[in-house]
């Protein structure tokens, strides 16, 4: 199997997803199946082929250095699950 349970646990941790044991078992199998399936790409000779990350034919547009947005804090904070005065609030972080 491509993805063993430990790998599933590791990538779940990286993704900040908490999985129970049943989910870990199921997902390890499903992910392995999917990865086995995508590996048919190895049949393709890609020597001297550049990776294509975006098909847009645009040139990266450059913005002028203008301060345009005024104080937006009401909008920015309006959906916050927890806030105090003008801050977002989260459980204590220990550095």
């Amino acid at each position: 199997m491509k993805i063993d349970k430990n790998t599933t646990i590791k990538i779940a941790k990286l993704s900040r997803l908490k999985l129970d044991n049943k989910e870990i078992d199921e997902l390890s199998i499903e992910l392995s199946t999917i990865l086995d399936w995508v590996e048919q790409l190895n049949e393709v000779d890609t020597n001297n082929i550049e990776p294509l990350s975006n098909v847009s034919s645009a040139e990266l547009p450059l913005r002028k250095d203008l301060e345009e947005s005024q104080n937006n804090s009401e909008n920015v904070l309006s959906n916050a699950p927890e806030k105090l005065e003008n801050y977002f609030v989260v459980p204590k972080v220990v550095e």
């Binding site: 990286l14 990350s53 990266l60 301060e67 345009e68 804090s73 920015v76 801050y87 977002f88 459980p91």
Partner: protein, 488 residues
Amino acid sequence: MNNLIKGKKHKWEAVIGLEVHAQVKSKSKLFSSSSTKFGSIPNSQVSLVDAAMPGMLPVINEYCIKQAIKTGLGLNAKINKFSVFDRKNYFYADLPQGYQISQYLNPIIGNGSIFIDLNEEKTKEIRITRLHLEQDAGKSLHDQNPEKTYVDLNRSGIALMEIVSEPDMRSPEEAALFIQKLRSILMYLNTCDGNMQEGSLRADVNISIRKPGDKLGTRCEIKNLNSIKFIKQAINFEITRQIDIVEKGGVITQNTLLFDTDSGITRPMRNKEEAHDYRYFPDPDLLPLRLDDKFINEIKKEIPELPDERKKRYINDLNLSNYDSTILISNKNVSDYFDEVLINHKDLKKSAKIVVNWISSELFSILKKNNLNIINSPISPNNLGHLIKLILSETISGKIAKEIFEEMFISKTSPDKIIKDKGLKQMNNDNDLEEIIDKILKSNSDKVKEYKNGKTKLLGFFVGQVMKESKGRANPKKINQLLNKQLN
């Protein structure tokens, strides 16, 4: 210079490299048009993009690109005509997108170098590996509440230049010289304000130790140092710590450390239980950045004279010492002030040393007393030049000059006006001076007798009396000459 550090058993060499985060001087953020002003109300300079609201997209700030190129040119570095913005993925409370837009495999600036002055004669090249553009994170406040962390995103998305050096430094002093020199180059270029207190310039320091000639040891990284003093302290502590471990038979484990400025010690960051895997990949919301020669050449034209060139000019054209030149160039504003004096008074070029002395002693001390920066000096470079010329032409005495100098500081006017208003011009006319001398000698005939009997020390007394009578305006050199003539 020998940089080896003596442990209990061996001599050790420290190997130090820096990663400096310099905030780009710009009005708006790297990918949004929010203000970059420092010290505003929390979350008041946060656009929908900066808060990573769903569906929001980044658009890059052209000026930040120009600033990075300008800095690259100032570091004699390669400007990459093709660069890519990548996502660096990790979770943190003040990282709204869940990733930082940065540059990984294809940074905008490649190899460069800067030179540090180890002493009067010796300079050392420190190689720059790269410079890339990236977003700053927000700010987490941990000490406001025992159970909560507060998040302010005002800083989130501000453009940073991450400047990475090769591990070319061998002592805390070299690291300090490097960051000082880098800071001064950035300030000359006007690409970063260099304000370390406000966090505009912060350094991560990589340190390892080895026996001279050995291969590199395992390094530790001290994060986010924001003063030159702390950089030196942290490095010193870390070198000692590492030597201690190795000499006791231990091994250094690669670690990310924080420096506690109160206790002066480094400690590992706590939230490191999982090894980071940043999963860099090109940001699909942004296309690669392609630069052409025209764009780069326009920026080249804007590159000002940089500290090294300026120093060379001071030494070669103005005959200043290395020491004096270094004092001037280490702060661009001081150096600009000095240059301004000479631009207004070309004839002072021969007397550049005197100009330096006035700036580094009188001007520095009065500015410091009044808590002023040289860019806000009430005494303009032009007026200081005037004053110095009045001294050189013996129109005023040095002592009077200092009085006038203080008056200039208060009234912000020219020395000429002060001299005229207060009648402070030096008396140089022989007849006028002889008149006063006659008067003094007459009213002190007893002392004249003593002098003639050999008590020549009294000459000073006569000079003093004449100065007093002239209210300090008499030219002391002339008084001496005339007194000598009359008494002998």
